[in-house]
Amino acid sequence: MNAFSLHDTVLSTERLRQSLLDPGCGGCVVFEGWVRDRNDGRRVLRLEYEAFAPLALREGSRILAEARERFGVERAYCAHRIGSLAIGELAVWTGVSAAHRGEAFEAARYIIDQVKHRVPIWKKEHYESGDSGWVNCERCAAAADEHTETGHAGHGHRHALT
């Protein structure tokens, strides 16, 4: 199986856990990201994930390879849901197994942080109030409308054009 994978059906944590088993490993760290019922003070009813699959698979696998290389962990996997998800559902799973716990914790943290920042996956929140919004996009769109540089500097999504 590809180290990074996209799924449009419920993730099986048991199957994913099996992929980490390794007789040379003494520790395993798993992070699960769940759909929360609120964000930025607004009640969320459900989420919708969308991915640019070929590049998401490629970039996700690069992150996992980096994690294995940097932290010397044995196995590292990440699975991400796409499609419509209800509150409480498992949206992203990443697991690492290693000889010792230290590098497993560090690698798992690295993977989930990098995945959130680099992999072309987008999340739309549907709110209780009936409207919806793409996380991280709306503020940029609003900023562009106002032709202002204030308000979004430092939120980490601006990309160099040169």
Binding site: G33, V119, P120, W122
Partner: protein, 303 residues
Amino acid sequence: MSKAPLYGLVLAGGHSRRMRRDKASLDYAGRPQLARAVELLRARVARCFVSIRADQHQDPQRDGYDSIMDLLPDLGPIGGIHAALAAHPDKAWLILACDLPFLDAATLDHLIAQRSETHIATAYRSSHDGLPEPLCAIFEPASRVVIEHWLEQGQHCPRTLLARSNALLLEPISASALDNVNTPEQYAAAAAQLAGDTPPTSGTQPPADPHSPDGARPAHAAHSLRLTVRYFALLREQAGRSTEALQTQACTPLQLYQELRRLHGLALDPQFLRVAINDEFGDWHARLSDGDTVAFLPPVAGG
């Protein structure tokens, strides 16, 4: 000061990817296009050359013409222009693309008559969008340093070069003389016209819609690219589609995005986006190639 002598160069070093056949060998009214272009040019310049890639050195279609080989590989048309100016730096060069079957003597004669040596180049404006047409144009010796500087900056688009430089731009004297032919369908239509049945309907056809699929007639948009664009998330919703095929004058993803931003009213400023070319992250200033798929990626939010 007298004008520098005028040499001619037919650009025949392209890959003809969309045509899937060598454009230089395409037959119009019984003659291959390369021979037609050379003949038209040769009568008007002191010497005439054909621009080739290194791997076309022994190509039979190009054999028999004086040739100038690209010095720098894979630069497209500007590589040919650069090589010619380097080979004969004291000459001015009349550059002709090899995919202009409707080009006529009057268009070349007018270009030569209007030539200005106080500009780095003399070119026509496109009858389609008013932008310079760099591939039927005269480049003066002074353009050499400008082009070298352009290449050093990683830029390759000759149209943008002329648009930003001190070039004399002429109004076209014929609406269709610079229509180029990129696809088998366009070739079939152009060949039929030139076979004599229907003369080119100069100025009577509406300009081609640059965002519609190729019609069965030559594209008005000379030297344009056929691209596929993919949209995601907020951009997909604003564009009202997840993918589109289009023909564009844009040379880089940034130019393309600016064009599409106006067309679809996209809210996101490019500084917030990343671009992918053929399913890999790319550069906003990369030179796009015919057939590329370009994706514009809004700020991501996985996890």
